[in-house]
């Protein structure tokens, strides 16, 4: 096999999978590096001039085109309102949580998941310090938000935030803002928000890609089986890493409706392929494949398409659907 200019470990410390398609990746990167250089310059100007990162059409457009890696932590903090949260609660908030009293059960639960978080990432192997840092962040957050505590899945989100921001406290605040402001009750004890949003997606697919909707129903594959992880991990461990981070750029700025845009784009762009899978197993497999083919690897194109392919998706109609479907679920509850 031809050797690649790209190493077996990516810039975030993830080992590339055995079957990684270096050829396509090199093709893509040769173009994407040019984009990155251009964006870096633009962002440098924006931030360098001390211009405000306050919400504006310009900033939104910049965010959609991708935030340079080294600015991500700072920009995510600003555009999501996490830095205001920190201002309000106090700069020593995280430290106080760390030194406060702890519930041993929570610590044990978190510890069990540490070696099971990104085991293929070099920073998360036991010899490095990321497992301990992740433990601190997750335990602190579980004590900060007792309603949520520790929910499996948060380990992957906080873990990736830590790899990107390289800072424990920033990771804590970004985790907090995601769970409490950006997403609707995904991680609470009954995970109502996730269950509702899966139903919302189902409705959206019915409206926007009706043949796939019917097909999936005929085959008998529940949407929850396909998409639970998409929602809970916000595509971490689902899409290629570059693509996940580009999605998160928009998620922090524009909120949770971005998730639906990504889901519908995936489904719509792979419509024919999905319709060809006539049985349960091949359809389930196909839904896995479409999350790491070359379409999603090309994150720049993919991110452009999430704003075109699904068509109009107003926040108001999503919130209407959420209310309606959450109520529907309450009405149906057995006991």
């Amino acid at each position: 096999m031809a050797s690649s200019v790209f190493s077996k470990v990516d810039e975030y410390g993830f080992e590339r999978p055995e079957d990684f398609d270096y050829e396509t990746y090199e093709d893509f990167m040769s173009q994407y590096l040019v984009v990155l250089a251009k964006r870096a310059k633009k962002w440098h100007e924006l931030i360098g001039e001390g211009k405000s990162l306050k919400r504006s059409l310009t900033v939104k457009r910049y965010v959609r085109k991708g935030i340079p890696g080294e600015h991500r932590g700072m920009v995510w903090m600003t555009v999501s309102g996490a830095d205001i949260m920190r201002e309000e609660l106090g700069h020593d908030w995280y430290q106080r949580l760390l030194s406060g009293p702890k519930d041993q059960e929570i610590i044990d639960t978190v510890k069990m998941d540490l070696p099971r978080t990104y085991p293929d990432n070099i920073f998360f192997n036991a010899a490095d310090d990321h497992q301990i840092r992740l433990c601190n962040i997750l335990v602190a957050y579980a004590h900060d938000n007792k309603e949520v505590g520790y929910c499996q899945g948060l380990n992957y989100i906080a873990g990736l935030l830590l790899l990107v921001t390289k800072d424990d406290e920033t990771t804590f605040w970004l985790l907090k803002v995601l769970v409490e402001r950006v997403l609707p009750k995904y991680y609470t004890r009954t995970m109502d928000g996730v269950i509702t949003d899966i139903a919302v997606l189902e409705e959206l697919v019915r409206a926007k890609v009706p043949d796939v909707y019917r097909h999936v129903r005929n085959v008998g594959l529940p949407w929850a089986v396909i998409t639970t992880k998409w929602f809970i991990c916000l595509f971490a461990e689902v899409l290629p890493i570059e693509t996940v981070l580009r999605v998160w750029d928009c998620l922090f700025y524009e909120g949770s409706k971005i998730i639906f845009r990504v889901c519908i784009t995936l489904i719509k762009r792979n419509r024919e392929q999905l319709l060809q899978c006539s049985d349960f197993s091949s359809l389930a497999e196909c839904f896995k494949e479409i999350t790491h083919d070359s379409l999603v690897m090309q994150c720049h194109d993919f991110m452009q398409s999430i704003f075109k392919t699904p068509g109009s998706l107003p926040a108001s109609s999503i919130s209407r659907l959420r209310t309606k479907l959450a109520q529907h679920k309450l009405d149906q509850q057995p006991r």
Binding site: C151, T228, A284
Partner: protein, 212 residues
């Protein structure tokens, strides 16, 4: 291969193919995913990633005159994912409820799962209880006899397993395959709610002989 010839008997002989949905349930970190990984790929990972939602895999087992294809649904173990579980075990013909022999709480949780399945899942579901991590005998807290007695009382298949050493992993799936009713699957008779409705195209291409 030399003995291929034997398998080339025309279709429609004694061989038939049956497809079953099997779900794995049990507390987080007891080894559900590891058992599946061992059974499907023959591998074991010291650090197996925690499952979010559910994972789906298939594997085929050959009995004397039947090929049993398992559709395996591996679920997330954390308590709060419980509300999603009915979606996964609905329509399952078989379940493996897993506990960790080194952790008493996981055995209690396994019993809760068994109760729930008996109440809510398909009435004729075949349930197997797996006491996993049997290789960690020096840390054992759940006695074999206790689990065996419980399984007998409740009509469950029971084995202690180790995903790490592969002990009893194929065996437990095989035991389930043997216990499952294999009447008229291919012809799609769907008798007694036991057999999963096969998708039409699947019925057409279902081969009549065992294991290519």
């Amino acid at each position: 291969m030399a003995n291929r010839g034997g398998a080339q008997r025309p279709n429609g002989g004694p061989g038939k193919i049956c497809q079953f949905k099997l779900v794995l349930l049990g507390e987080s970190a007891v080894g559900k995913s590891s058992l599946v990984l061992r059974f499907v790929k023959g591998q074991f990972h010291e650090y197996q990633e925690s499952t979010i939602g559910a994972a789906f895999l298939t594997q085929t087992v050959c009995l004397e005159d039947t090929t049993v294809k398992f559709e395996i649904w591996d679920t997330a173990g954390q308590e709060r994912y419980h509300s999603l579980a009915p979606m996964y075990y609905r329509g399952a013909q078989a379940a493996i409820v897993v506990y960790d022999i080194t952790n008493q709480d996981t055995f209690g949780r396994a019993k809760t799962w068994v109760k729930e399945l008996q109440r809510q899942a398909s009435p004729n579901i075949v349930i197997a209880l797996a006491g996993n991590k049997a290789d960690l005998a020096n840390k054992r807290v759940v006695e074999y006899d206790e689990a065996q007695a419980y399984a007998e009382e409740n009509g469950l298949l029971f084995m202690e397993t180790s995903a790490k050493t592969a002990m009893n992993v194929n065996e437990i799936f095989l035991a389930i395959a043997k216990k499952l009713p294999k009447n008229e699957q291919v012809s799609g008779a769907g008798s007694s709610g036991q057999t999963r409705r096969l998708v039409e195209s699947e019925q057409q291409k279902a081969p009549g002989n065992c294991c290519k």
